[in-house]
């Protein structure tokens, strides 16, 4: 995978608007390391052990692109500046905590990083999926009670400062 000038621009733009202080990316032999002025390391490249503790999806996904394998097909930051919340594991997607309860979020809902946006059920185990950033829900991309794959985009969030 070769990095073009435009790709680099997009990466820089992403990092500039994102809430972290330090960013590193490795693709093949190329390594990029960016630090905001006075910033200390704030982003860990390790995957969180559980859904609740997982780092912000956008961060995690950018880091994961350093794997020496086929690149992800799912766009994590779409061109209109929306950020994807992706499925941390394969399972059944639920928009609400119970069948008769209102959904966690609707299009237009304001979310804080720790807000649950949906649930992924795996073998009767409910895994809360958090927004991972502050913003407004722009789109819900999966149908309720359907199977979603690992890494599939579930919700798109328009980031807010």
């Amino acid at each position: 995978m070769a990095i073009e000038r435009d790709d680099l621009k997009e990466i820089l733009a992403t990092v500039a608007t994102a809430g972290f202080e330090e960013f590193s990316l490795e693709i093949g032999d190329m390594k990029i390391r960016l630090t905001k002025q006075g910033g200390a390391a704030a982003v860990s490249p390790e995957r969180g052990p559980a859904v609740a503790e997982a780092p912000a999806p956008s961060t995690e996904s950018l880091v994961r692109q350093s794997d020496p394998v086929a690149p992800r097909s799912v766009p994590l930051e779409s061109q209109d500046g929306l950020v994807a919340v992706t499925a941390p594991l394969l399972g059944t997607f639920y928009r609400a905590p119970a069948p008769d309860a209102p959904p966690f979020v609707e299009v237009g809902s304001l979310v804080e990083p720790d807000d649950t946006v949906c649930i992924i059920e795996v073998m009767k185990l409910m895994n809360n999926v958090r927004a991972g950033r502050r913003g407004r829900v722009a789109r819900v991309c999966a149908d309720n009670a359907t199977l979603v794959e690992f890494g599939q985009t579930l919700v798109l969030i328009e980031p807010l400062p």
């Binding site: 020496p68 394998v69 594991l89 394969l90 795996v122 073998m123 794959e149 690992f150």
Partner: protein, 453 residues
């Protein structure tokens, strides 16, 4: 049975998908992020990403497999080999979720998965086992006493065994303590079970295994034997069928013992019973039973004409075997070479990366099972098997020359493979005359290779 989840990757996933197609079954492939765009995901009717590259987070996730199967309307799961294939808890989980596990019942997987229990089971049926301990050893002292009993050299083995891990040859009492601690640590790390037992080590023995098939209508039969004596560090590299050195009498005994073991354990599906044959070829001993389809199953298919994976599906669907023992004929000879992404001239060091050239040989009496193609990136996370090159001949020499010829036309670029190693083995006089044993590659071939080109 209508739709099958293929809970594996690589060449065996491709093999299972092809069998499903032949039977008119729909397929769902699963893949880790490292296998995105791999051949099985393209061949299957549908493909799902189940997790990140690490096996523990993807191919070993039984919950994800069951979810994927149920969420896509599958009624059966084929586990292939490795990963979840011999996990009794997974087989039980499938049954509880209303899914057909294409393999044996969980209790047989559990029995045979404990190598000590399997040994006792065989001994009880009157099948010879190598003299050794009947129970797990708790300390190096216990191991020392047991080793003195059976006599050196001895082999330390893991109760949860497999793949040569937790296995150590000990030639003198002074070496036992260190070997015991190392083997125990290795077994603990690999299987989360550090139990060891000890067996007398038989020098220059051959590894001969019997393919069995059993259904739930009472049919239990064998499809002849395979010789898998060519190994490096307990990993099979070349396999053939039939075994070129068995007398008819010993072959008959071996086959009968295998069928007895399978029948008495309540076996169902395809399975393999492994034996050790002494150099004098008058005695054989039960080693273990593998409750899955094996990597080297194609050599049996070549000489019997039976599609073993298709039979696994028929048995799992309750249709029963489509033939009887009398209808099984072993004809001709077949040899298989495992083409791995390894550098044979550099201690078989793994060689992952992008395949820039890939031309697999084709021709009559030739079969190549693979998931590779030009441009494919061999990920560093899994085993190194790229392809199995399998040749059939009217006799052993016919199969050998055909395979040698085929390997010469097997062009792989971008990564290192074991093809050159196989070419040298196939022309070695010891192989041609089949004067080989399980340690021949390490003790004889690799140590004298400087003089052989």
């Amino acid at each position: 049975m209508r739709r099958v989840l293929v809970a594996n990757r690589g060449e065996i996933a491709v093999r299972v998908i092809r069998a499903c197609r032949a039977l008119g079954l729909e397929t769902v492939a699963v893949y880790s992020e490292a296998d995105r765009g791999s051949l099985p995901t393209k061949l299957a009717d549908r493909a799902l990403c189940i997790g990140p590259p690490r096996s523990a987070d993807s191919y070993l996730r039984s919950d994800a497999m069951v979810m994927a199967a149920r969420g896509t309307g599958c009624d059966a799961i084929h586990p292939g080999y490795g990963f979840l294939a011999e996990n009794p808890v997974f087989a039980e989980m499938c049954a509880k979720s209303g899914l057909i596990f294409v393999g044996p019942p969980p209790q047989v997987i559990r029995l045979m998965g404990d190598k000590i229990a399997a040994r006792q089971f065989a001994a009880k049926l009157g099948v010879p086992v190598i003299s050794g301990t009947e129970e797990a050893l708790h300390s190096a002292e216990e191991a020392g006493a047991a080793a003195a009993d059976v006599g050196y050299p001895v082999l330390l083995k893991a109760a949860a065994g497999g793949g040569g891990r937790g296995m150590r040859i000990v030639r003198a009492p002074g070496d036992l303590r260190e070997a015991f601690e190392r083997a125990r640590a290795e077994a603990q790390a690999a299987f989360d079970d550090g139990r060891l037992y000890v067996e007398r080590f038989i020098e220059r023995a051959r590894h001969v295994e019997v393919q069995v098939l059993a259904d739930d209508r009472g049919a239990c039969l064998h499809l002849g034997e395979r010789d898998c004596s060519l190994q490096r560090r307990h990993q099979k590299l070349v396999e053939e069928a039939p075994c070129p050195v068995l007398s008819d009498a010993l072959r008959r005994e071996l086959l009968e013992a295998a069928v007895t073991l399978a029948r008495e354990s309540g076996y169902r599906s395809a399975g393999t019973i492994e034996f050790l044959v002494e150099p004098a070829r008058t005695r054989y001993y039960f080693l273990e039973m593998n409750t899955r389809i094996q990597v080297e199953h194609p050599v049996t298919e070549m000489v019997t004409g039976v599609d073993l994976v298709a039979e696994q599906f028929r048995i799992a669907a309750g249709s029963g075997l489509s033939f009887t023992q009398d209808q099984i004929r072993v004809r001709g000879h077949s040899i298989e070479c495992r083409v791995n992404a390894e550098a044979p001239d550099h201690g078989f060091r793994p060689s992952p990366g992008q395949i820039t050239t890939w031309t697999a040989p084709e021709g009559e009496g030739l079969r190549v099972d693979t998931h590779c193609f030009e441009g494919y990136v061999v990920p560093p996370f899994y085993d190194s098997l790229l392809a199995k090159a399998i040749a059939f001949g009217a006799d052993r020499e016919g199969a050998r020359t055909r395979l040698l010829n085929a390997l010469g036309r097997f062009a792989v670029g971008g990564i290192e493979t074991t093809i050159p190693f196989h070419q040298r083995v196939l022309v070695h006089l010891d192989f041609i005359e089949s004067r080989i044993h399980t340690r021949w590659i390490e003790e004889s071939f690799l140590s004298t290779e400087g003089g052989v080109s």
